[in-house]
């Protein structure tokens, strides 16, 4: 019982995000011309998935108190790669998918090495690697185009037995296979410890360097799934597609209750954060609010949400606490 109570307290921000998401979903499907059907749910899910992948990847790096500003570029790079490789015979498609994910992992590995062994702060290191990855994406696909196998696209962008959107299933499966084993092992613990109190982690002998590198690799892998999925949606590759994803992933992470200082948070909350961003956009679209006003409303809501969560901190009576 205590475990549940303790778990609840530490995950309260994520619960908050889910409550907000559910409210938004009620509104969204209420105004949707077709209401809540499996088709509209799948379309909704498809819009969320790519950002959710990227946001989860970002969250893993944020857990270590780091930041990956190249994650949008990795998405773009893998998206362009997918538009080149993921077509042809089933074997070629399988190879293509593997190559895309491998490329994402390789990008993450580069990030990890630069930050850990190059001893360059993550923010500026990933700005630089992001430029490199964008350049490579442009080399692969200078002009948007290419093609992605439509069969695979159909499988992953529709639904399974008319019950649940395939993209959600994909998201769940990938997260469970890639993140959960690590989360429940020593590396996952080290990832959290590195963000919580890296000094203690070192002194205790935890493999901090390895954990930080793995965090970046996982971010690259999740970003590559995002890039792959985007390719399945658009059936093409675009080297500039990554730009909004980086900053949106940070917003999703924060909305999902993950502190940018690391050490805490859950990917379920982050999914809710990503979904909030996308659902809000869709909701504004369907309510017929002028498209001109939408960026403002989205920005305003992000600002209010972030400011509101900060107000909790202000109740502290010892002014030294705010600096910790």
């Amino acid at each position: 019982m205590n475990a549940i109570r303790n778990g609840f307290a530490s995950h309260a921000p994520a619960w908050g995000a889910w409550v907000v998401l559910l409210l938004l979903l009620v509104g969204y499907f209420a105004v949707h011309p077709r209401g809540l059907t499996i088709d509209s749910a799948s379309i909704w899910s498809n819009q969320v998935t790519a950002l959710a992948f990227v946001a989860i990847g970002q969250a893993i790096v944020v857990f270590t108190r780091g930041l990956d500003l190249s994650i949008g570029a990795i998405l773009a790079l893998t998206n362009c790669l997918a538009s080149t490789l993921v077509s042809g015979t089933p074997l070629e498609i399988a190879f293509g998918v593997a190559a895309v994910i491998g490329a994402g992992a390789a990008c993450g590995l580069i990030n990890g090495f630069v930050v850990v062994f190059g001893r360059i702060q993550a923010i500026i290191a990933t700005i630089a690697t992001g430029a490199v990855f964008t350049g490579i994406a442009l080399l692969i696909r200078p002009i948007p185009g290419g093609s992605v196998d439509e069969g695979l696209s159909d499988i992953l962008t529709y639904d399974i037995f008319h019950l649940v959107p395939s993209s959600l299933v994909l998201l769940a499966i990938v997260t469970m296979i890639v993140w959960s084993p690590i989360r429940c092992g020593l590396l996952g613990r080290t990832i959290i410890a590195a963000g919580s109190h890296v000094q203690s982690a070192y002194m205790s002998g935890l493999p901090v360097h390895r954990a930080r590198i793995v965090a970046f690799v996982l971010a690259g892998i999740f970003a590559s799934f995002g890039g792959l999925f985007l390719g399945l949606q658009t059936l093409s590759g675009d080297a500039n597609s990554g730009i909004p994803y980086t900053l949106n992933s940070i917003a999703a992470v924060v909305l999902g209750g993950v502190p940018l200082s690391g050490g805490a948070g859950s990917v379920l909350g982050v999914f809710a954060g990503a979904a909030i961003i996308r659902t809000l956009g869709g909701l504004l679209f369907f309510t017929g609010i002028s498209p001109l006003a939408q960026p403002f409303i989205q920005g305003a809501i992000l600002g209010i949400a972030v400011a509101a969560s900060a107000l909790r901190l202000l109740r502290t009576r010892n002014q030294l606490e705010v600096f910790r």
Binding site: C184, R189, I192, G205
Partner: protein, 512 residues
Amino acid sequence: MDENAYLTLNGVSKEYGGIAALKDVNFEARRGSIHAILGENGAGKSTLIKTLAGVVRADKGTIRLDGQMLAFRSPAEATAAGIVTIFQELSVVPHLTVAENICLVDPPRSRFGLIDRRAQRRRAAKALAAIGCEPIDPDRRCLDLPLPKRQIVEIAKAVALDPKVLILDEATSALTETDVRHVLEFLLRLKRSGTTILYISHRMREIQEIADRCSVFRNGEHIATFDAGTRSEDDIVRMMIGRPIAQIYPPKPQRSRCGDPLLRVRDLCWESRLRNIHFDLRAGEIVGLGGLDGQGQRELLLALFGVLRGTTGTISIAGEKKAPSGPGRAKWAPYHIALIPEDRKTEGLFLDLSIAENLAIGNIEHLTRGGFIDADAEAAMTQRLMQDLQIKAPKLAQPVSTLSGGNQQKVVIAKWLAISPRILLLLDPTRGIDVGTKQQIYALFRRLAAEGMAILYYSTDYDELIGLCDEVHVLYQGRIAATLAADAMTESAILAAAMGNANVGVCKRSAA
């Protein structure tokens, strides 16, 4: 060589930037014994511990465990070799639970290699039970635990590793008296089961209770090792500091009780940490705050400095009825209050900045001319401060991080003296400082008091409170449990008051 020796160090030396921290140390500890290590700060104890813990590597010399030569390059390797160290700075990961911290590096695994949370909880509970303190919920995040409980978790974490050699570096400093009892009894049990224990502490009572052998270090050298109880406390102290204790503290003047108090505190309350605090502070006094850790001493000083919000009661300083609204206000008129914080590295100094910049930042507002900084005035002031406090540094432009702990603390004090404070608040200022510098600082405080400053001094060292202060307020659970002065200021009296025993002699002041 002692044939019972289990852990042996031969010729171990370590230098830091030309200064020898350990000089050719030969040391032995027996299996199944509790070996106390004594020495002032700067004596080499912490370097010795760090060498054994794998945090630093000795420049010369060998370490042997049961005859086997050891060489480790990291704390993980030291732990693997069976030497586990509990440091003063906790290595608890705040966002993880108690159980996760106790089984941090080598948790029990399930079939698939994942961490088995139930086995982990059991192992944690077992370690906690072995120590015997009040039960702690293994599923609570350490973030939510108070400091004393976190220290227990730290001890349990070391215990769970089943060490051959367990090193405790001031590991009981934050514990409540009952928990200290439990820990000491636990260490005796551990010793009987064959573990070698190295116990570093400056609390002589604890050492007298559990140690079998004692070793004294001074200036990086191993001075002597003897069976516990074979030397008097004075002898030991003389070995530790190389001169009789009486000379450390400056003489105290006869106190006159006339004159208005500079500071009057009445019914001060804050959250549940301060309860109806009531005292006066007069110019020329050095008043100590004593008691166990965490009884409100820090909060009291922070409240006076304006860091706490929501205090009730009155704080009268120089005609004002309230505490200042923050350090930025407390510094200047009408308050003129300075606070020397507890942790100089994180709260008192800007390690990356130069000594000059650190010295000047306290009073920089008064070094301007026409809106711009007057570089000459600044240089003159920093030179003066360096001289007044005898801070030893080849160049003022070098980063303050290159100074020794004692000199760093002098920089912090100097920075504050530049504003000519009337009230000086100190949070354990001599922690981790060598004896020579301590002496200088004590003399400085006495001089400042003689010039009219009022000093409020929180210390965890009873000797220091007795030696330096004119009177001591002992806090217990946020209240002043007792006020002791002159002859009534003894260690046993302070201790009794610290534990809540209110029947201690109160307010026996010497005649004017």
